[in-house]
Amino acid sequence: MTDLTHNEQKSIDYTGAKLGMWLFLFTEILLFGGMFLLYAVYRDVHSADFHEAAKEMSLVFGAVNTVILLTSSLTMALSISAIKNNRRTASMLYQVVTVIFAAAFLVNKFIEWQDHILHGIYPNSPELLAMSHGKILYFGLYYVMTGIHGIHVLIGAAIICGTLILTKQGRITSNDYIKLENTGLFWHLIDIIWIYLFPLFYLIK
């Protein structure tokens, strides 16, 4: 804050920045909401098929990914409380760990997808099209919803790399940590969306 002349005093509207971030999060909820709407409608019509198709999912992969994301939310929260207490190195460390967890999640997802694709289950594949309608829709929703979720994990991880740099540069401090806090909010939302995806795809068998 001290690299500004007195004519360029920065006034930080902490409440405003938080409000803006929460409003943006509502838009993300609605974005995913459209896909959850599709899921709700098609599962209602094809409940037996969804139940059958879910048996193809690996509970281990799903559960491991759930633990990874939940823990990454913890490390994200810890990075924020660290910087609030002026522990810059600890905050940076927690952010690094969060990014590592994000990478692990994405690697897991890649392996999981690869497994399905090698078994011939991917959008428009001959094997998939030979299945019942409910199963085609289930796997379509699986790829699209976890895919768009995965893109958000990637974006979130990239943003955390950004806050990592800002923390290192001393532009996120115990007096001004709103950027880190808002990033944390985004990360928690991504986590919560997975918390809904996990039971809806993996636990309905």
Binding site: D13, T15, G16, L19, G20, L23, F24, F26, T27, E28, L30, L31, F32, G33, G34, M35, L37, L38, V41, Y42, H46, P123, N124, L129, S132, H133, G134, I136, L137, G140, L141, Y143, V144, I148
Partner: protein, 528 residues
């Protein structure tokens, strides 16, 4: 030129001081120039259609070209012009001034919004010249045709997606600004009604746009991956696409109209020298329209195969959403009653708005009634309806606002006689162009057709001639404004005697809007 936001030194040289500005006033003008340019292109496309339809039979464009023309006309007018429309241009410029603020809450996100808008528009324009050529699905992109057509849907739709992101961020920005940056003493009950309308619109932009975002993404996913969400052969339901599309696109029309109604609510008290009748009712009706507007989307789908129960409910809710609009019209008229009225151009366009919007709104009730809807769905009756409410309503409202705030934005007065002439020519042309469409539509002429039966010849001829008169009116209007930009007489700070905060600073305003942060002690329409 004295110091104003035009002369402020930027850290970027020359034009980049505008392209990378974070000043809401400059951003408002960037949007104004870009949206009006797209409006011009949309008008040309409209004139092209009317020329082809001057008489039955094929004339100078093929059926395929005609499909592309009406698709582009819709996409450009809706997504590139009227949805950003008033909020992005007049809202950006005027709303922070009305709050007594120095800028919006997130100035950098503001300019990012404009860049997203421009990149999205550029991508959509590129789709005209690459791949399979311009989209031909109509602006509604209905499945299955939007998946099967070889035209360049994905690029165009992705461009619209970016524009949607721009709109969402602007909504978020404006909502935070209005919550956080009001000047001392500016309570919610002292907000000008234009700002109230921008507030209500912000909620729609924020919450509705993400639904079209995901819908558009799903079109692209469908074209590339064939997932099958809307394909019956794979278990999907094409009607679900329509639901998702209209869940955004109906609230979108309230994004178009609410700010125009806000402009009207600000103009009438000034030109009637009388405080607004029913301030709280008008503010509340903006919120009510925004809310109920989320519940009526099914009225676009009465013939798509929904159940009777669903259709009855949607019809009832459609009637309900007309009530708060009626409240506004009655309050505006009551404001003018026994006022000291001066019919300058802003008020003239406002009166035009009230008349044309009322016709459009009443015909909306015809559309919303199940029995009559069966008769006029997919006909020119619908085309006439929405042009009356969007063009006669929102765009005339924008013209009213442009003239009203012209002195504030540009520091010059426009020429009054030319402005009035432009209005009258526009008004005549508009009604010839669109009222004829009510007639042929009711008689059964389908919309989006490149040709029609000879029995519809006469009204179509009248309509095409109307389009030329309308174009002449637009030419006079913009000639006047552009000429006045250069040669108009200098404008004082408050040429209309307005009582809202934007008139308490110079015309045009300085970089940070006010020399001192204003203290607000009274409401926005204190006349007598």
């Amino acid at each position: 030129m004295e110091a104003s936001f035009y002369t402020t030194k930027s850290k970027y040289p020359g034009i980049f001081g505008w392209l990378f500005t974070t000043d809401h006033k400059r951003i408002g003008l960037l949007y104004l120039i870009s949206t009006l340019t797209f409006f011009g292109i949309g008008v040309l496309l409209g004139l092209t259609m009317r020329l082809e339809l001057i008489r039955s039979g094929t004339h100078f464009i093929s059926a395929q070209t005609y499909n592309a023309v009406f698709t582009l006309h819709g996409v450009i007018m809706i997504f590139f012009f009227i949805i950003p429309g008033i909020p992005a241009s007049l809202g950006n410029f005027i709303m922070p001034l009305q709050l007594g603020a120095r800028d919006v809450a997130f100035p950098k996100i503001n300019i990012l919004s404009w860049w997203l808008f421009m990149i999205g528009a550029a991508l959509a324009v590129t789709s005209l010249f690459t791949g399979g050529g311009p989209p031909d699905t109509g602006w509604t992109f209905y499945i299955p045709y939007s998946v099967r057509t070889g035209t360049n849907i994905s690029l165009a739709v992705f461009g619209v997606f970016l524009i949607g992101l721009s709109s969402t961020l602007t909504g978020m920005n404006f909502l935070t600004t209005i919550h956080q940056l009001r000047a001392p003493g500016m309570t919610w009950k002292r907000l000008p009604l234009f700002t109230w309308s921008i507030y209500a619109t912000g909620w729609i932009q924020l919450l509705a746009t993400p639904v079209i975002a995901i819908t558009l993404v799903l079109i692209i996913v469908e074209r590339f991956l064939g997932v099958g969400f809307f394909d019956p052969a794979k278990g999907g339901d094409p009607i679900l696409f329509q639901h998702m599309f209209w869940i955004y696109s109906h609230p979108a029309v309230y994004v178009m109209i609410l700010p125009a109604m806000g402009v009207v609510s600000d103009i009438i008290p000034v030109f009637a020298r009388k405080t607004i009748f029913g301030y709280s009712a008008i503010a509340a009706s903006s919120i009510a329209i925004a809310f109920v507007g989320y519940l009526v989307w099914g009225h676009h789908m009465f013939t798509s195969g929904m159940s009777d129960t669903a259709r009855i409910i949607f019809s009832f809710l459609t009637f309900l959403v007309a009530v708060p609009s009626g409240v506004k019209v009655f309050n505006w008229v009551a404001t003018m009653y026994r006022g000291s009225i001066k019919v300058d151009a802003p008020l003239l366009f406002t009166l035009g708005f009230i008349f044309l919007f009322s016709i459009g709104g009443l015909t909306g009730l015809v559309n919303g009634t199940l029995s009559t809807n069966l008769h006029i769905h997919g006909t020119y009756f619908i085309v006439a309806h929405f042009h009356y409410v969007i063009f006669g309503g929102a765009v005339f409202g924008m013209f009213a606002g442009l003239h009203y705030w012209f002195p504030k934005m540009f520091g010059r007065m426009y020429e009054e006689h030319l402005a009035k002439l432009a209005f009258y020519v526009l008004f005549v042309g508009f009604n010839l162009l669109y009222f004829s469409m009510f007639v042929v539509g009711y008689e059964g002429m389908p919309r989006r057709y490149y040709d029609y039966l000879p029995r519809f010849n006469t009204p179509n001829l009248i309509s095409t001639i109307g389009s030329w008169i309308l174009a002449a009116g637009l030419f006079i209007l913009f000639y006047n404004l552009i000429h006045s930009l250069i040669k108009g007489e200098k404008a004082p700070a408050n040429p209309w005697g307005g009582a809202t905060l934007e008139w308490q600073t110079s015309s045009p305003p300085p970089h940070e809007n006010f020399d001192q942060v204003p203290e607000v002690t009274q409401g926005p329409y204190t006349y007598r």
